[in-house]
Symmetry: C2
């Protein structure tokens, strides 16, 4: 589990993640500042794999009326490209789910790009579904800027 | 904005929502107990419309590394069936977005069933997109039980 002192390492990996996939990022410095504030909170959690770290997961927890415990959302999961296909992502995800279970979470969520076939297969192989049980309607994530 | 004392009203509407769409619900009584604990928290917010209430929104806020403010997620938005097509949902959603803006949120999210064409049109008409800006890949919501 990453400590607030690990903020620069977590920030650098998250920044690399977004740069690799051409997603906007405020840069590692801004991310470090934010992570220093967020990592001490009980509703934010980062996991690092490797030393030096080559993989990261970022999770948030939020209350739900439908579950007795908090819902866990895997905000980010990243492994450096040169170290993929070594089950590092698998290990981080398993660890993240174990921690969520320990905190009483019964629901674990992740948003995935439709075209990211590798990621979709990875999560489907780890028990995730894009539909409600017994239904075949897919669930879509919508968002807007305010 | 619903007060903790409104928990039974919020619970009854959320329970009716799930019953209407054949989604599991623990029942209004359990929901009332949970809402009494959740509504005083600053990361949970319910809005009611009408007196007696005929519509409800439930929002959660969680920290993000990508935004300076919290991300707002519209967990539920429900209007009683006999009172639809009167812009009540529109008014509640506008109110929810205004409150989120006031709290410093820059991102507002909602998960929608692919087959729920009316809901998708409603959110698209309110500025929501299922894709990232400049991309045409859809974003899918995955989940699993722990």
């Amino acid at each position: 589990m990453a400590e607030p002192a690990d903020a620069p390492v977590v920030a650098e990996l998250l920044d690399a993640f977004n740069r690799e996939f051409d997603t906007p990022t405020p840069g590692a410095e801004v991310l470090t500042t934010r992570l220093r504030q967020l990592l001490p909170r009980e509703n934010v959690l980062a996991l690092l794999a490797g030393d030096p770290a080559v993989g990261v997961a970022l999770l948030t927890f939020r209350p739900s009326v439908w579950d007795p415990g908090p819902v866990a959302l895997l905000e980010e999961l990243y492994v450096r490209p040169e170290l993929r296909r070594r089950k590092i992502g698998h290990t981080i995800l398993d660890h993240a789910m174990a921690i969520a279970r320990k905190r009483g979470s019964e629901t674990f969520e992740i948003n995935v790009d439709e075209g990211d076939v590798d990621a979709r297969r990875f999560y489907e192989n780890h028990g995730f579904a894009n539909t409600e049980p017994g239904q075949n309607e897919r669930l879509l994530y919508y968002h807007r800027r305010l």
